[in-house]
Symmetry: C2
Subunit: 581 residues, 2 copies
């Protein structure tokens, strides 16, 4: 039995492109006698949020469904498609009463038919599916060419004590009751990427394969949706063996011949593991370093390469969907902006243009210019030097004239950062370029940036990487991509250069300690007390906690961050600005 | 039977203040032989979002519960408290497995006892309760001093076809089955304010009162939580009569003697109405004006006063919780900034300081200065005039020197707006003041503002009012608060003054048409097609729709907006930036 796995890549609600894709599949005679499987919500894209409530979206989507029915009825080729889509039920006033996340069967004769409704609607972290969708109640054992296929949609494969239902168990019990031996499990997914997720998926899929004694097919979409990436990486796992892989971050069609199960059955493990669950969100994986202190786990080369590919994809997706071909990065001579520039350089496609702007002020070291210039020379990127000293002076004078109070301290520091932000955006307006934000996760967590200043940008590249990880990624890039970041940039102590002799280390704990504390607070929900019990310095913890909780207002106005980790700032992180804790 | 209704006002997670309040109630002998009722989640505050998952919060909350038990055991006074709080269940690793939104009974003998768990968890618009909480299954008929009291928590009182459960019906059936006649319904609420909500609450409460044949007591919290306001306004309704009202936006204690039911029973209406429901979110209330065109309903004087009080409260709550006593508003000579200044002036408390900054550029009319100055004279607010011409020139020159390309068009327009934003924040940094944003809802909806420019601010005052409503509110204030906004500001055509002879009407449809189209798109989810069918001009609709969907990226980086309407930008509005629709 032949199964074609369509790892697709479309913009959300791009119904024309989605229709054309189906038209091509249905009209191709080579596709006959084949089962074609598509990702979850292939017909709409994902995540939709409120879009699925808007009548513009609903009307165009319903038109698409009608056109698909007509198309399938005209088709003479004998094939079957299983596609993810939405099923709406409307009331007498045409308002959506229920919306279901379903698997449609498309066949030449029957048009569209709902086979299965997603049972387990993820509703934690970035997920809001219970806000919009109604869960299914029924299992589906789908018969095709004499084979029995168990159907699941994405989250259905996972278990957690938070979930009120366990679709894998329910499917298993149904198979036992009906005395059916499945020939394959097929999971239609739209599964957001984070580092390590792919491995977790494989482990879980293998458990399910061994439970049912059949191959587990996983088809995932490709796409960058604002902050969230879908990595594709579809697969089949048969017992313990991965028998195919889809491409990473690229559309793909995998032609797969259904295999016999190989390996040992295991009727227990699949019911016990709680991977990728509510509980896993709290599981602290800080590790002890050689001095026996808790630190972030180090990024391996493999991790770094995966991150790099993810960031490149995320940038290009956002640029394409927003219509940008030009890019601007403000260089400071520091590691963050240098790394963003390096990543963007490595991401550039033909016809795209990248430029760097260096904006020295009174407190910029000449070394900052030298290093920025050196880097741009190495990677052959035009660097503009736009000094802000004179403008800064002219602002100081004008300000003092009016307020009779000189710009000093924070006021004088931030004006430089905001002036740079404004100038960067002037250039962006002039040449219609996308501004790449250069903040990192450590900065964001403690509010060590200037709102409307160095925090500006269309999208944040490093906002899900702590400062120590920024260093690791820079070193990896240098090692594997011809030393494009000057060593001097990596070696110098981090500074914002907004006053004399400013260094990050004067205001913050050392980054390895800071990052570990932040990871504890953010990813594992640890309290100050927990962190102190784990051996962190009480005073440092208390300082970091205060900075962290009091900088919520800055994060609220931050741009989308390309999501790399299981826990990130952005959609999946929602905390009141004003509170007492 | 004596019931004291505690309409409380505490910052989220301010456990010390919450404990002290309880201590005071329990130690007061005058409170004996009385039932004391408190709002939903009195013990924590609301909304909590991810805070209720963070161990810092959880540990401090659990400490509070322990302290309350000890306190209640020490208390000699005979009284009973019904307070809203969270009930956590933890697993063996101390992770929260379920979190319930409950009513605790506090008595001198028994300490804390859970009486009831909220059944209906709102999960639409701004609400995410299913993300965090587990719903209750059981009704509660609470016996106190020989009386039978039906307990509900907030959303439990509403019905909708989206909801899988109807707590009012379930309670009613239980009463029938047990042959109990209730003496009162008590609803503990934390119900966000929007215009018209109070009336909807009264109508629904009256229906329930008539269904059960007993008074309906409604206790609501007071507070401004970032964008969301809780208005208090607790009440008792007996049949059709309101027998007490709590204060608006102020803490209050109402001493209430339980009444006999008066009026006619109605066993049908309460099961039919769908107020404040999923469906009501779509119910279009655009009205026809004298030319038979659909327009926004006009704001009555009563609406305007309610809005004004809400905005004053919202500003002061945000200021107090963020620790600000100084305020800055950038005046432009236009209506939005003038209205913000007027509202802030009317909100000022002793010890607070408000100043205005007028920043004229090359395209600012002298009239803009005159009107701004006149207004500040009238309301006795210090106005600083900080010209940006020279700085703008110096930026133009520097920019041209570097890029060999003069600042023109959008680039030259936006730099002025961003320069003003930077200067305003310089002043804010210098005197530790809170910057009040001056954008309105129409601007926000079509992206007619400069990101990091005129869109800056800590909190948005007018972001939930369309431009036509801004005019209405300004006129109302002039009529009722001694003409503090010069007529010239209200009468002149809106302009951003960023280029020669710029007027909003050159780029946008007239505001009465624009606002009606926007309300259709935003509040009623209407499509372009729907709007055209309702009689709007096809070209205008299509232009507005394009501006609306393409400005999502600006809204993503906008500050919190004080929520005034049923449908607002902010937490309750979630749409992907990149999409095709």
């Amino acid at each position: 039995m032949q199964i074609n796995i369509h790892q697709t890549h479309h913009t959300i609600s791009d119904f024309e492109a989605i229709y054309s894709y189906l038209e091509e599949v249905l009209s191709n005679k080579l596709n006959c006698d084949t089962l074609h499987i598509f990702p979850e919500l292939f017909l709409t894209g994902y995540p939709l949020q409120d879009l699925c409530l808007q009548r513009s979206f609903i009307q165009k989507y319903c038109d698409l469904l009608d056109r698909i029915v007509t198309l399938s009825q005209k088709t003479k080729n004998n094939m079957t498609l299983l596609v993810g889509g939405l099923q709406y039920e409307f009331d007498e006033e045409n308002l959506p009463i229920t919306i279901k996340n379903v698997i449609y069967e498309i066949t030449p004769k029957s048009g569209l038919r709902v086979l299965y409704t997603k049972k387990l609607l993820p509703n934690y972290d970035i997920f809001d599916e219970e806000k919009y969708f109604t869960a299914g109640q029924e299992n589906c054992i789908y018969e095709y060419q004499g084979k029995s296929l168990g159907l699941l949609v994405c989250e259905d494969m996972w278990i957690s004590s938070m979930h009120h239902t366990d679709p894998v168990r329910e499917l298993f019990l149904e198979c036992e009751q009906q005395k059916v031996e499945l020939d394959a499990i097929i999971n239609l997914s739209a599964s957001p990427f984070y580092l390590g997720k792919d491995n977790t998926r494989l482990i879980r899929a293998s458990e399910i394969s061994k439970l049912f004694g059949c191959p587990f097919l996983y088809v995932n979409r490709v796409g960058g949706e604002d902050e969230i990436l879908f990595d594709g990486s579809s697969f089949c796992i048969n017992g313990s063996n991965v028998t195919f892989r889809g491409k990473l971050y690229e559309k793909d069609i995998i032609k797969y011949k259904l295999e016999q199960f190989s390996g040992d059955r295991d009727l227990i493990k699949a019911f016990e593991d709680k991977l990728n669950s509510w509980e896993s969100l709290f599981k602290c994986d800080l590790i002890k370093n050689s001095e026996n202190n808790l630190r972030l786990p180090e990024l391996s080369d493999e991790h770094c390469e995966h991150i790099l590919q993810s960031l490149r994809f995320g940038i290009q997706e956002y640029a394409k969907k927003s219509g940008f071909k030009n890019f601007d990065v403000a260089l400071s001579g520091g590691i963050d902006s240098a790394l963003v520039l390096a990543i963007m350089k490595l991401s550039l496609l033909p016809g795209q243009n990248l430029e760097a702007i260096y904006m020295p002020g009174f407190y910029s070291a000449s070394k900052s210019y030298d290093l920025s210039f050196e880097m741009c020379q190495i990677i052959d990127i035009k660097m503009y030097t736009l000094p802000i000293k004179f403008i800064h002076s002219s602002i100081r004078n004008q300000y003092n004239d009016v307020f009779h109070s000189p710009m000093e301290g924070l006021c004088d520091e931030n004006i430089q950062s905001r002036l740079r932000g404004a100038l960067l955006y002037a250039r962006s307006n002039q040449r219609n370029s996308m501004v790449l934000n250069t903040s990192n996760k450590s900065e964001l967590a403690v509010g060590y940036s200037t709102l409307y200043g160095d925090s500006v940008g269309a999208i944040s590249i490093l906002g899900d990487l702590y400062k120590t990880e920024v260093f690791a990624l820079a070193k990896y890039i240098n090692k594997n991509y011809s030393n494009i970041i000057p060593a001097g940039i990596i070696d110098r102590p981090p500074t914002a250069e907004l006053r004399e002799d400013q260094e990050d280390s004067h205001s913050l704990p050392s980054y390895d300690r800071l990052d570990a504390i932040l990871e504890g607070l953010l990813s594992y929900q640890l309290s100050e007390k927990d962190l102190i019990e784990k051996g962190f310095d009480a005073e440092e913890v208390s300082k970091v906690y205060r900075l962290y909780t009091r900088s919520e207002y800055k994060r609220r106005q931050f741009c989308p961050i390309i999501k790399i980790k299981a826990k990130s700032f952005g959609t999946g992180y929602r905390v009141p600005i004003c509170k007492s804790v």
